[in-house]
Amino acid sequence: MSAIAHAHEHHGSYLEPKGGFWTTVWDWATTVDHKKIGVMYLFAILFMFFLGGMAAMAVRLELLEPVRTVSQTAADGSLVAVIEGQLFGTSDAASIAEGNNIYNRLFTLHGAIMVFMVIVPSVPASLGNFFLPLMLGAKDVAFPRLNLLSWYIYVLGSIFAVAAIILGGVDTGWTFYTPYSTTTDAGYWRVALMTMAAFILGFSSILTGLNFVVTVHKLRAPGMGWFDMPLFVWAVYSAAIIQVLATPVIGITLALLTMERVFRIGIFDPALGGDPVLYQHFFWFYSHPVVYVMILPGMGIISDVLSVQSHKKIFGYRAIAFASLGIAAVSFIVWGHHMFTSMSELASTVFSALTFLVAIPTAVKVFNWIATLYKGSIAINTPMLYVLIFLFLFSIGGLTGLPLGTLSTDLHLHDSYFVVAHFHYVMMGGTIMGLMAGLHHWWPKMFGKMYHEPSAMTGAILVFLGFNVTFFTQFFLGTQGMPRRYASYVDGFQTLHIISTVGSWMLLLGFLIHLFVFIHSLAAGKKAPANPWGGLTLEWEAASPPTEHNFDHEPIVKHGPYDFDTARPPHWSAEDYPLPDEPAGPAGTVVRAH
């Protein structure tokens, strides 16, 4: 009995302040608690999402109107440029040239921030950090101090990037293609600063991934075999493997690119005998697998949220788990499809065929999700709405990837707005919608407060509509021949561009509503019960918000994560959520003292 009493030693919520203001700040800044680190990541990522989003709004606003640059010859034979329309409010030739540079910097800013500082770390570093140990029944990740270090490295990388932007920006595009990135004179050292930022952020990503792989291997609760893990854990685990194995390659690439920029070592510079296509191979050897670092954790959220919110056992658990690993494996052999035009026909054909392989495990997941919904008792709330939005948008994003992987159609579509629309449907329609689903699903657990459901659902619907208005039009623009990365375009595209820009305003409004819903919840939300949705996984075993050491006892797992027909959810109460049939099985997860 005394041993049990010892284990019962009371710990308050992890959010409880440790003392005065500065004590609390110091406590957070030096914490090794995975929950606090997850929350700090979440706010850092949301802030960067705001910055990157503002850049996107500026880009869309500029594209409301085309700039017509008409070349005319004057009477004395000299060339005069006649310009109609405006670029960033100016309309004379010199300002237009400068305006084009500003436009280039804005979309580079948007791309680099969204990829390196938002989407790659979004789900794993925030929700992953918070929930991976909880779902495994662990007290923390394997290496808590390393986890804090990853966060500081992330902040350092972001400071480098923001510094490069504040000091005038970079106009290379987020891919830093050589020889442009080594020869553009838009700030000799700002490009170096920006590539260093991406290099540093890579370290953060590697350390987080490494931490997660070891955590999953070594810290599962007693009774939890590999196939008793929630699918979110499987997805984050698969993504972590990619993070560990792909990121070092971008590390060396960006290090060489920085040396190229600073010392002119010539490895990627054709003027010195170097090979710019080598840069692209190196870059995409990382950046293609990392696309799945972005999407896999989002898919993991969908598997979990969808099963809990429709209160039905997930269809094809093992198929989804293996599909995650399959996607991780295939991700390493498709990078060539970013360079179809710079390879031999044979190599292009092989990469095209390999690219189609990705569709198989991805489709396995989508079909399993839909089969799970069938005959489930589906709760209509914000997490579930975002799951449905994800399914809709991600399917469009996935299917439009096929014509891009096909050589003959890609010849026409590459570098057009079709590509822009495609990757926004998978990146934003996939990852960000997954993040929003997970954020609402786990918000009560993270902060112990409920959010205002009708307002959040309004936000979700606005985001869905705004997203489609913004990006579906861009498929048409792309097929009609509108190329990426231009501030100006021919008049025929204007109607579609106007629709797209109006859509971006709807998106902004939707996200602002979410922002206010979150602030309102933190300030005045109803207290959340321990298990508001009736989930079976271990995070619902913990209090809302969890105590500092997550669990009072070490949990022992006695049932699968989605056994809704045989197990009763922990902390079950008919007031929190109705159950279709009260299950007769064992009550919750059995716990034991140390």
């Binding site: 923390d140 792989v213 194995l245 070092p248 070592i265 010539g266 005998g273 170097g274």
Partner: protein, 249 residues
Amino acid sequence: MTTLDTRRDQPLTEDRPLWERYKAAHHWRSAAEEFDACKFGFWLFLSTEVLLFGGIFCAYAIFRTLYPAAFHEGSASLDWRFGGLNTVVLLLSSYTMATSIYCIQTGKFRRAQVNLVITLVCGFLFLAIKGLFEYMPKWSGWFFDPTMAHGTLFHFVEGYGGKRPGSLFDYPFAVSEQMPIWWSVYYSGTAIHALHVIIGMVLIARVLYRTTKGHYGPSHYTMVEVSGLYWHLVDLIWIFLFPLLYLIH
């Protein structure tokens, strides 16, 4: 129950050495589990290091295929005796590192410290040979001569220096046009390796310091083990760099 677990139950008073009093972090069930996880994590980290150098080796393979003449000529201007000496130095240091881990596992702390010191000295020796006898003359034309055959420690040879990477290349007697690329690959590869040597030495110095303070012993030597793994990787990378750079002409 392992011995590690039973030791935790005994009262460990202040007079016991630090390694005996070591307790695993709060989220581990035992020190043995923590040790396993640390080793697993470190092997994962080593795989990232291999992939990092993989990029350099990949660039090497491509440019050697594209410009065989430049690589032949470049390799000919390296002295295999310095490279070979450095290989011997690193192999010796790997041996002493492995020995020091064995000594700590068996409680022979004095011998462990001696072996760690030899490992560190080998690290310094490697960097000195690389910097003074290889980098400096090729980059600047200044030679280091400890025998003082020219009367001074340093002497300048006209027309020898300037073998630098990329557009910094300034060597008047280059035969092949792509020589700068060779030197870019040479300097990037060896400099990133040298950086790893320095990081390894910092780790070993820390292990040495903490060994003298009694942090490590037969039941707790995680940092000694992983620092050793890191040092062996540094050695291994050099084993590949040496023939690829010095022995291909």
